[in-house]
Amino acid sequence: MKQVPSKSVSRFSLEKLKNKSEWLIYLVPFAVGVIIFTLYPIINVFLTSFKENFNYMTKEFSGWGLGNYTYVLQDPYFHQALKNTFFYVFIVIPISTCLAVLIATLLNQKIKFSGLFQTAYFLPMVTSTIAVGLAWRFMFNYKSGVFNYFLGLFGIDAINWLQVTTGNFPALCIYGIWAILPFTIILLLSGLQNIDPMYYTAAKVDGAGPIRIFFKITVPLLMPTIFLVMIVNTISCFKVFNELFPLFSGPGVANNLYTAVYYIYYQFRIQIPSRYGYATAAAVILFGIIFVFTMLQRIIEKKLKN
């Protein structure tokens, strides 16, 4: 009946080790990805923005300081970029949110062909950007586009959406609203489906009409989801960049559609030699703006809740 202590001890400790380190095994793949592709670049961008005359190839820089920030903050291109970005956010977010709430509410009704409508609204998410861009260029065409045709029906002069600076920005906003709708509608639809239908029945028994039900029941109960999509969409709209390419293949006519991210991209990629310092400083400033806006939204949300 002699026991073999060494064996049992070693087995015991091995199991213990296994238990202790098990969580690590699950965590590592994700953590490695986050560290390499998210954390490291963030820290690096932040540090680089304070390095003056930084050379990416040689990693040399003349010294730490706020030089990049003073340059960027005085750059008229950056001013233009910020102005465009803010206008874009303040036009696209309210319109797209209202439209999405409306469309989602309608899609949530028991209507015929609702599956067909849902597919139609979600199509932008899965369609190739190049195809989408081509289609939109046709629609925005000065002479034969469908937009100008409809304006003509109301007796409004045709707008040269794509080739003249004044038409560029509205075209970008319309396209941006369209592009953001599917994702917003999906989120809102799931929010709507979480509302217990008995609230509608209760309101109907008391004689509430559809408009009152929409404003007094649906919208307030949907508010958490509306805030969620507004926060997510505001962040993505501040980063407006991709949207420039399908329509204009760049920042519009005569560079009048500079956006904050395009400015960063420009300093980083188009400028030769690249100005990494300016690009990173602009990125940090943009981060600051988005951060402040997100916090503001959260504060408003909390205030409204009470």
Binding site: D196, V205, G207, A208, I217, L221, M223
Partner: protein
């Protein structure tokens, strides 16, 4: 207000939820719609409220035909099973909401809401949100919201099923009190016989979409119209035995003869169900009608429940606490007049 229901039928596709249902509900009464799950009682309620359209038949409020009217035009107050209080509104706003829709002026709205809050005892909670209330308080608010627009009829769908046992007794008495104070005709749905028995003026008992019986609670218990009604009411459940009429007696399965007086009027050879309430069976009676064997005896505080073998069936009977019985002891069984019924085996119809 009197509610008259005429030949009401509701079909969902091929299934018939309510079948040719006729009833009259007198003004100012508290009525329980009672029945097992899926018997069509909630469908009934929803048709009275107007949420569900009827397939056939008519509904009258007093003399007015409301069959084709929408819920808001019928003037019904409805309390939902889960209360359906709007979570984003305070208690006061919730109670005010029906008046807001009716475009009642704000001061009057609030005055009437407060009056209702007082009636249901939630006047201290007006500024709270529904999530800050207990189940019973939510129930009270839901009743106030249903009553605030002065409906002609109050409908409650399983009003007590979401409450715990103690609160259930408290709330059912509250519902009775509120109903009595307002004098409003009230219909509530329940599957709990005790709930229905304890507070309602009349019980409407349903099964599989068919009306079984409308009666006062005690009457329903004492004079069931058929075998289902007798089975459904009472705790412990009624003792149900099967037998055949022979020579003016009932011979139960397992060859046990019950010399029931009333059996003399029954046709010879008819197959019947003899149902006996536990309190109607007298063990060691001086006028024995049958013979049985004690199987088991359970002492439960003030009462003693004995299981007696009658033929092949085991029946429950209450016995005197001071008498002692041994297992397997032969006993003479007597039956009281009250609480003993004979039904037809085929149709379940009451014979005696």
């Amino acid at each position: 207000m009197k509610v008259t229901i005429q030949n009401l039928t509701k079909c969902f596709g091929a299934t018939t939820a309510v079948n040719d249902f006729s009833a009259v509900i007198e003004s100012g009464e508290l009525i329980a719609l009672l029945g097992p799950s899926g018997c069509g009682k909630s469908t009934m309620l929803n048709m009275i409220s107007g949420i569900l359209p009827v397939t056939k038949g008519k509904i009258f409020f007093d003399d007015e035909d409301v069959t084709d009217l929408s819920p808001e035009k019928r003037g019904v107050g409805l309390v939902f099973q889960n209360y359906a209080l709007y979570p984003h509104m305070t208690v006061l706003e919730n109670i005010c909401f029906p008046l807001e829709i009716k475009k009642v002026k704000k001061e009057e709205r609030i005055a009437r809401a407060k009056e209702m809050a007082k009636l249901v005892h939630v006047e201290a909670l007006l500024d709270r949100k529904p999530s800050q209330l207990s189940g019973g308080q939510q129930q009270r608010v839901a009743i106030a919201r249903a009553l605030v627009k002065h409906p002609r009829i109050l409908l409650l769908d399983e009003p007590l099923s979401n409450l715990d046992a103690r609160l259930r007794i408290e709330m059912r008495e509250e519902i009775r009190r509120i109903q009595q104070e307002t004098g409003i005709t009230t219909i509530f749905v329940t599957h709990d016989q005790e709930e229905a028995m304890s507070i309602s003026d009349h019980i409407v008992l349903m099964r599989d979409g068919f009306l079984q019986q409308i009666a006062r609670p005690q009457e329903l218990y004492d004079e069931p119209a058929n075998c289902f009604v007798a089975d459904f009411l009472g705790t412990p459940p009624i003792n149900k035995t099967y037998g055949v009429v022979k020579n003016g007696t009932i011979v139960l399965e397992g060859d046990c003869t019950v010399a029931l007086e009333a059996a003399k009027n029954l046709d010879e050879g008819r197959e019947v169900i003899l149902s006996m309430r536990a309190e109607a069976i007298i063990v060691n009676d001086s006028v024995p009608l049958a013979e049985g064997t004690i199987d088991e005896v359970y002492v439960m505080g003030k009462e003693v429940l004995a299981y007696v073998q009658l033929g092949s069936k085991r029946v429950r009977a209450y016995v005197e606490a001071d008498e002692e019985y041994g297992k397997g002891e032969k006993v003479k069984i007597g039956l009281k007049k009250r609480g003993v019924f004979v039904f037809d085996k085929e149709t379940g119809e009451r014979l005696v």
